[in-house]
Protein backbone atom coordinates (compact mmCIF):
# COMPACT_ATOMS: atom_id res chain seq x y z
CA UNK A 1 0.00 0.00 0.00
CA UNK A 2 1.19 3.57 -0.70
CA UNK A 3 1.14 5.79 2.37
CA UNK A 4 1.80 9.53 2.26
CA UNK A 5 2.86 11.44 5.38
CA UNK A 6 2.37 15.08 6.31
CA UNK A 7 4.55 16.60 9.07
CA UNK A 8 3.22 19.89 10.47
CA UNK A 9 5.51 20.75 13.39
CA UNK A 10 9.16 21.54 13.87
CA UNK A 11 11.91 19.37 15.34
CA UNK A 12 12.54 18.91 19.09
CA UNK A 13 9.68 21.24 20.10
CA UNK A 14 6.91 18.77 19.23
CA UNK A 15 7.02 14.99 19.21
CA UNK A 16 5.12 14.95 15.91
CA UNK A 17 8.17 14.56 13.69
CA UNK A 18 9.57 11.79 15.93
CA UNK A 19 6.29 9.93 15.71
CA UNK A 20 6.28 10.39 11.94
CA UNK A 21 9.81 8.97 11.69
CA UNK A 22 8.90 5.91 13.76
CA UNK A 23 5.73 5.44 11.73
CA UNK A 24 7.45 5.70 8.35
CA UNK A 25 10.17 3.28 9.45
CA UNK A 26 7.56 0.77 10.61
CA UNK A 27 5.47 1.20 7.46
CA UNK A 28 8.46 0.49 5.21
CA UNK A 29 9.47 -2.48 7.38
CA UNK A 30 5.94 -3.84 6.96
CA UNK A 31 6.33 -3.76 3.18
CA UNK A 32 4.39 -0.59 2.47
CA UNK A 33 5.69 2.15 0.25
CA UNK A 34 6.14 5.69 1.57
CA UNK A 35 6.84 7.60 -1.62
CA UNK A 36 6.82 11.06 -0.05
CA UNK A 37 6.84 12.94 3.25
CA UNK A 38 5.61 16.53 2.99
CA UNK A 39 6.80 19.11 5.52
CA UNK A 40 4.41 22.01 6.10
CA UNK A 41 3.86 24.76 8.70
CA UNK A 42 6.77 24.61 11.21
CA UNK A 43 7.50 21.15 9.83
CA UNK A 44 9.76 22.88 7.30
CA UNK A 45 12.22 23.54 10.15
CA UNK A 46 13.05 19.83 10.26
CA UNK A 47 15.11 20.33 7.10
CA UNK A 48 17.80 22.60 8.54
CA UNK A 49 21.31 21.22 8.37
CA UNK A 50 22.51 23.77 10.94
CA UNK A 51 21.06 22.13 14.05
CA UNK A 52 23.44 20.88 16.74
CA UNK A 53 21.40 18.84 19.21
CA UNK A 54 23.04 17.70 22.47
CA UNK A 55 25.26 14.66 21.97
CA UNK A 56 22.97 12.39 23.97
CA UNK A 57 19.88 13.28 21.90
CA UNK A 58 18.73 12.07 18.50
CA UNK A 59 19.66 14.10 15.43
CA UNK A 60 16.30 14.45 13.74
CA UNK A 61 17.47 15.91 10.44
CA UNK A 62 20.22 13.33 9.98
CA UNK A 63 17.80 10.49 10.71
CA UNK A 64 15.45 11.70 7.96
CA UNK A 65 18.25 12.28 5.49
CA UNK A 66 19.51 8.73 6.06
CA UNK A 67 16.01 7.26 5.80
CA UNK A 68 15.36 9.10 2.55
CA UNK A 69 18.59 7.83 1.05
CA UNK A 70 18.10 4.23 2.13
CA UNK A 71 14.45 3.90 1.11
CA UNK A 72 14.15 6.49 -1.63
CA UNK A 73 11.62 8.65 0.21
CA UNK A 74 10.94 12.05 -1.37
CA UNK A 75 11.25 14.64 1.43
CA UNK A 76 9.45 17.77 0.25
CA UNK A 77 9.59 21.09 2.08
CA UNK A 78 6.79 23.53 1.25
CA UNK A 79 8.31 26.60 -0.38
CA UNK A 80 5.74 29.11 0.91
CA UNK A 81 6.00 27.89 4.50
CA UNK A 82 9.79 27.70 4.19
CA UNK A 83 10.16 31.26 2.94
CA UNK A 84 8.27 32.67 5.93
CA UNK A 85 10.42 30.68 8.32
CA UNK A 86 13.84 31.24 6.79
CA UNK A 87 14.46 27.83 5.23
CA UNK A 88 16.26 28.15 1.89
CA UNK A 89 18.27 25.99 -0.45
CA UNK A 90 21.12 27.39 -2.57
CA UNK A 91 18.86 28.24 -5.52
CA UNK A 92 16.26 29.96 -3.37
CA UNK A 93 18.95 31.88 -1.49
CA UNK A 94 20.34 33.22 -4.74
CA UNK A 95 16.89 34.06 -6.08
CA UNK A 96 15.95 35.92 -2.90
CA UNK A 97 19.29 37.67 -2.52
CA UNK A 98 20.11 35.94 0.76
CA UNK A 99 23.74 35.32 1.75
CA UNK A 100 23.29 31.83 3.20
CA UNK A 101 21.18 28.70 2.89
CA UNK A 102 20.37 25.95 5.36
CA UNK A 103 18.52 23.02 3.73
CA UNK A 104 20.06 19.61 4.38
CA UNK A 105 20.81 16.92 1.84
CA UNK A 106 17.85 14.70 1.09
CA UNK A 107 15.25 17.45 1.39
CA UNK A 108 13.96 19.42 -1.59
CA UNK A 109 11.92 22.61 -1.70
CA UNK A 110 8.78 22.58 -3.80
CA UNK A 111 5.20 23.80 -3.93
CA UNK A 112 1.99 22.84 -2.16
CA UNK A 113 0.92 21.02 -5.29
CA UNK A 114 3.21 18.21 -4.14
CA UNK A 115 0.99 17.77 -1.09
CA UNK A 116 -2.17 17.53 -3.17
CA UNK A 117 -0.43 15.18 -5.60
CA UNK A 118 0.59 12.99 -2.66
CA UNK A 119 -3.04 12.89 -1.54
CA UNK A 120 -4.12 11.84 -5.02
CA UNK A 121 -1.43 9.26 -5.64
CA UNK A 122 -1.32 7.46 -2.29
CA UNK A 123 -3.82 5.08 -0.70
CA UNK A 124 -3.57 6.68 2.75
CA UNK A 125 -2.46 10.01 4.11
CA UNK A 126 -1.36 10.31 7.73
CA UNK A 127 -0.78 13.69 9.41
CA UNK A 128 1.55 14.29 12.35
CA UNK A 129 1.15 17.73 13.89
CA UNK A 130 0.16 19.72 16.93
Amino acid sequence: MKIGVLVSEGPYTHQAVDSAYKFVTAAIAAGHEVPRVFFYHDGVNVATRLSVPPQDERNIQQNWTALAKEHNVDLVVCIAAAQRRGMLDANEAERQGKDANNIAEGFRISGLGQLIEMGIQTDRLVTFGD
Binding site: I3, V126, G129
Partner: protein, 102 residues
Protein backbone atom coordinates in the same frame (compact mmCIF):
# COMPACT_ATOMS: atom_id res chain seq x y z
CA UNK B 1 -15.78 1.95 4.99
CA UNK B 2 -14.31 3.15 8.26
CA UNK B 3 -11.89 5.72 9.64
CA UNK B 4 -8.83 5.59 11.86
CA UNK B 5 -8.80 8.71 14.03
CA UNK B 6 -5.58 9.73 15.75
CA UNK B 7 -5.50 12.01 18.80
CA UNK B 8 -2.19 13.35 20.14
CA UNK B 9 -3.40 15.72 22.87
CA UNK B 10 -4.12 15.12 26.52
CA UNK B 11 -7.88 15.17 27.15
CA UNK B 12 -7.14 17.11 30.35
CA UNK B 13 -5.56 19.91 28.30
CA UNK B 14 -7.60 20.20 25.10
CA UNK B 15 -10.95 19.29 23.58
CA UNK B 16 -9.45 17.22 20.74
CA UNK B 17 -10.34 13.77 22.09
CA UNK B 18 -13.91 14.71 22.96
CA UNK B 19 -14.44 16.33 19.57
CA UNK B 20 -12.98 13.26 17.87
CA UNK B 21 -15.27 10.90 19.76
CA UNK B 22 -18.26 13.11 18.98
CA UNK B 23 -17.56 12.67 15.27
CA UNK B 24 -16.42 9.06 15.14
CA UNK B 25 -18.87 6.56 13.65
CA UNK B 26 -19.65 3.02 14.72
CA UNK B 27 -16.88 0.77 13.44
CA UNK B 28 -14.24 3.49 13.48
CA UNK B 29 -11.03 3.22 15.50
CA UNK B 30 -9.44 5.90 17.68
CA UNK B 31 -5.70 5.64 18.29
CA UNK B 32 -4.31 7.81 21.07
CA UNK B 33 -0.65 8.74 20.53
CA UNK B 34 1.90 11.09 22.15
CA UNK B 35 0.20 13.08 24.92
CA UNK B 36 -3.06 11.60 23.68
CA UNK B 37 -2.34 8.36 25.55
CA UNK B 38 -3.53 10.00 28.77
CA UNK B 39 -7.02 9.60 27.32
CA UNK B 40 -6.76 5.86 27.97
CA UNK B 41 -6.25 6.27 31.73
CA UNK B 42 -8.80 4.73 34.05
CA UNK B 43 -9.97 6.26 37.28
CA UNK B 44 -10.40 9.77 35.91
CA UNK B 45 -13.40 11.98 35.27
CA UNK B 46 -13.29 10.88 31.64
CA UNK B 47 -13.36 7.14 32.24
CA UNK B 48 -17.11 6.77 32.11
CA UNK B 49 -17.54 8.68 28.85
CA UNK B 50 -14.67 6.70 27.29
CA UNK B 51 -16.26 3.41 28.28
CA UNK B 52 -19.49 4.55 26.69
CA UNK B 53 -17.82 5.50 23.40
CA UNK B 54 -15.84 2.25 23.54
CA UNK B 55 -19.03 0.32 22.86
CA UNK B 56 -19.16 1.57 19.26
CA UNK B 57 -15.59 2.59 18.54
CA UNK B 58 -12.36 0.61 18.97
CA UNK B 59 -10.00 2.43 21.31
CA UNK B 60 -6.21 2.05 21.13
CA UNK B 61 -3.16 3.64 22.72
CA UNK B 62 0.33 3.62 21.25
CA UNK B 63 2.25 1.52 23.79
CA UNK B 64 5.69 3.14 23.32
CA UNK B 65 4.10 6.52 24.15
CA UNK B 66 2.41 5.03 27.19
CA UNK B 67 5.70 3.56 28.43
CA UNK B 68 7.55 6.84 27.85
CA UNK B 69 5.12 8.51 30.20
CA UNK B 70 5.57 5.91 32.93
CA UNK B 71 2.02 4.59 32.74
CA UNK B 72 1.47 0.90 33.40
CA UNK B 73 -0.93 -0.72 30.88
CA UNK B 74 -2.87 -1.92 33.93
CA UNK B 75 -4.04 1.65 34.35
CA UNK B 76 -5.87 1.58 31.02
CA UNK B 77 -9.64 1.63 30.85
CA UNK B 78 -11.03 -1.85 30.16
CA UNK B 79 -11.30 -2.31 26.40
CA UNK B 80 -8.51 0.07 25.48
CA UNK B 81 -5.87 -1.89 23.63
CA UNK B 82 -2.16 -1.13 23.35
CA UNK B 83 -0.47 -1.28 19.95
CA UNK B 84 3.12 -0.71 18.85
CA UNK B 85 4.26 1.10 15.68
CA UNK B 86 3.70 -1.93 13.41
CA UNK B 87 0.21 -2.09 14.91
CA UNK B 88 -0.27 1.61 14.12
CA UNK B 89 0.69 0.89 10.50
CA UNK B 90 -1.76 -2.01 10.36
CA UNK B 91 -4.56 0.22 11.65
CA UNK B 92 -3.82 2.78 8.95
CA UNK B 93 -3.90 0.09 6.28
CA UNK B 94 -7.05 -1.54 7.65
CA UNK B 95 -9.19 1.59 7.72
CA UNK B 96 -10.11 3.50 4.60
CA UNK B 97 -8.80 6.85 5.74
CA UNK B 98 -6.91 8.43 8.61
CA UNK B 99 -8.02 11.63 10.27
CA UNK B 100 -5.76 13.46 12.72
CA UNK B 101 -7.36 15.50 15.50
CA UNK B 102 -4.65 18.06 16.22
Amino acid sequence: MSTLHTVNKSPFATQALVSCLNHAKAGDAVLMIEDGVYGGLGGTGLTEIMEEFGKNVSLYVLSPDLAARGLDPKRLIAGVEGVDYPGFVDLVAKHDRTQSWL
